[in-house]
Amino acid sequence: MSKYTEDDLREELKTKEYEYGFYTDIESETFKKGLNEDVVRAISKKKNEPQWMTDWRLEAFRVWEQMEEPNWANVTYKKPNFQEIAYYSAPKPKKKLDSLDEVDPDLLETFKKLGISLEEQKRLANVAVDIVVDSVSVATTFKKTLGEKGIIFMPISEAIQEHPELVRKHLGTVVPTTDNFYAALNSAVFSDGSFCYIPKGVRCPMELSTYFRINEGGTGQFERTLVVADKGSYVSYLEGCTAPARDENQLHAAVVELIALDDAEIKYSTVQNWYPGDAEGSGGVFNFVTKRALCETNAKVSWTQVETGSAITWKYPSCILKGNNSVGEFYSIAVTNNYQQADTGTKMIHLGKNTKSTIISKGISAGKSQNSYRGLVHIGARAENARNFSQCDSLLMGNECGAHTFPYIETKNSSAQIEHEATTSKIGEEQLFYCNQRGIDTEKAIALIVNGFSKEVLNKLPMEFAVEAQKLLEISLEGSVG
């Protein structure tokens, strides 16, 4: 009797090609490979930046030169040669674009293939989108609607020109240039990204969204995102990432800084689907990202991430719970297959009183992949009544992959309450048979069970994203019936 086993499924997963592996032939302007002070200056000059910005970059570069690439994560890879990367690449017909009509049609076609038709999103989803291809923001939709509320949402390069005081005040305050190797590199060479400011008391009426895409070969992408939610404001921010299939390893070293002032709330959701490399483990994006949020009094930041792509993921979206009563949340699904390696998790730094954090992490490993959760819960001596709940579940598919959990828990306050739980399991034979008996084949059954396993996190995503995320998890849609 033939049986569709998990092995068969894995086999099939292997042969499913990366759907976003196409390359758009847009003429682009790319810097020569290599990195030195002159390149940093040139990037700054290209962007017509003020002197303070140039100095800031140079300082970061000098720090970076002294730093060593970290190797504590549970990942192994050939270290990139930082002189073999081009640090700037922009689609060429680079005049300023005010409406979508002016965007290069090829590029629009790219977006279509990505499944993000801008028009459609505009109409249906009420999402304002900033799109960064390689290094440059291409179009920011909905500028006007947002402008009426005083919301600033624009490429960070423009923000440096138009709102230098705001950028200067906040840039690097959550992730200092000296923070870590990749953050320092990013600070020196970032070429674009998004900037968002929500004024006091304003609820941003729509989801803000950025799509990142690496298009050009031999380039790295170093975007920088800065979100400032002023007192009592609210914003939900989405981020999506894709890259074409290439047999080389491309480097993505982004920095995201979130600042939630008193009573503000930021929801930051990521669906990361960078090219993961092929079934033999060659190619794929190295995703080394620093994401951190600062929460002032009563502020709340939720990180939600669905990580399915990248050859290597090194990423720990964190919350510094500085203000009293502030809240940090981290919801994550990380799926690894073939030779992918993910080392991801969060840091919750409780400094203020009555601070609360929740960590829900779901890791799914298949193929020959390695999936690690690494997290820190730190309760400072003054953080009276801090609360943390962490749950890390791993699902293993097949016997060639690994699931690892490395939680660090540090407490210096006796009123802290911390609960950490972790489990590892596989899909039960009985569960599969039960589904089969009801006429659901094994592949579908696995998708269903994986969907259930990931549910707590999927539920945290905004609708538009949940759809894409589920598609990425190869899971049928959960319907609206019932």
Binding site: M1, Y434, N436, G439, G452, S454, S476, G479
Partner: protein
């Protein structure tokens, strides 16, 4: 409809079923009784195609289709439904989502498209009313934290949704209180027609008071040792299984 001939099955090289013969015609209700460990659940699992059990000999046919080489879901598509003695829990998957997936997969096997949401909703309403299931219940994770009775009722609800040709109810009555038993039994009765058939596995007469069997079979040590009409169940109730053991 169902034809079982000389069915032998073993688990981990231990023979459990030792030559079962059974024929079930459309419109019939068969009851299978027998002491614990006789092999009743094993028989149900083998019909449904559970691969923990190895079918070593014999024939299982449904409407002339040989089931032996079919995967469990293909048998389900043919119209076999098993109400499990111990339904499994699937965390995070709601009853609704599960049944929707099951229905659409069964339709897909028949070359039909997905059932329109409107129709599905209507059907869910109808069937949950039939089994007096609270709608809130439908959004809970499948069988997770369900009481014994809720699990069984949920099984019959799924049966109502899937409308199988052959339903095998494995100790569906255990864990049910008397009201729930009546609800489940009347549900089964309403679903019964001249075109489908039911096999009821049970220890007790009480379910058979509600669902009248046309035939009663006694399974003992992997074989059907006695068959009769509804009165056999009563006789068993009175004399106990020791009586059967003496027969063998």
């Amino acid at each position: 409809m169902l034809k079982i001939e000389n069915l032998h099955a073993s688990v981990e090289d231990r023979a459990i079923l030792k030559g079962i013969n059974l024929e079930v015609k459309p419109g019939e209700v068969h009851a299978i009784m027998g002491p614990n460990g006789a092999g009743k659940s094993t028989m149900a699992s083998v019909i449904a195609g559970n691969e923990s059990y190895e079918m070593t000999e014999g024939v299982i046919e449904l409407e002339g289709v040989d089931l032996a080489d079919l995967a469990p879901e293909e048998r389900a598509h043919q119209g076999v439904f098993l109400s499990f003695q111990y339904p499994v829990e699937i965390p995070g998957v709601s009853v609704t989502n599960f049944i929707k997936t099951a229905i659409n997969e069964n339709r897909k096997a028949k070359g039909l498209g997905d059932m329109p949401a409107k129709d599905l909703l209507k059907k869910i309403r109808e069937k949950s009313a039939l089994l007096e299931i609270d709608r809130k219940f439908l959004s809970r994770s499948l069988n997770e934290g369900f009481s014994g009775g809720e699990k069984k009722r949920n099984e019959i609800f799924q049966m109502a949704m899937l409308e199988p040709k052959l339903a095998i109810l494995d100790e569906t009555d255990s864990g049910l209180d008397i009201d729930a038993l009546r609800i489940v039994a009347s549900g089964v009765n309403k679903l019964k027609s001249k075109d489908n058939a039911v096999i009821i596995i049970t220890h007790y007469q009480r379910l058979l008071d509600y669902i009248k069997p046309d035939f009663v079979h006694v399974l003992y040590d992997g074989k059907i040792v006695k068959s009769g009409d509804a009165s056999l169940a009563l006789e068993l109730e009175e004399k106990g299984y020791d009586w059967i053991k003496e027969l063998v």
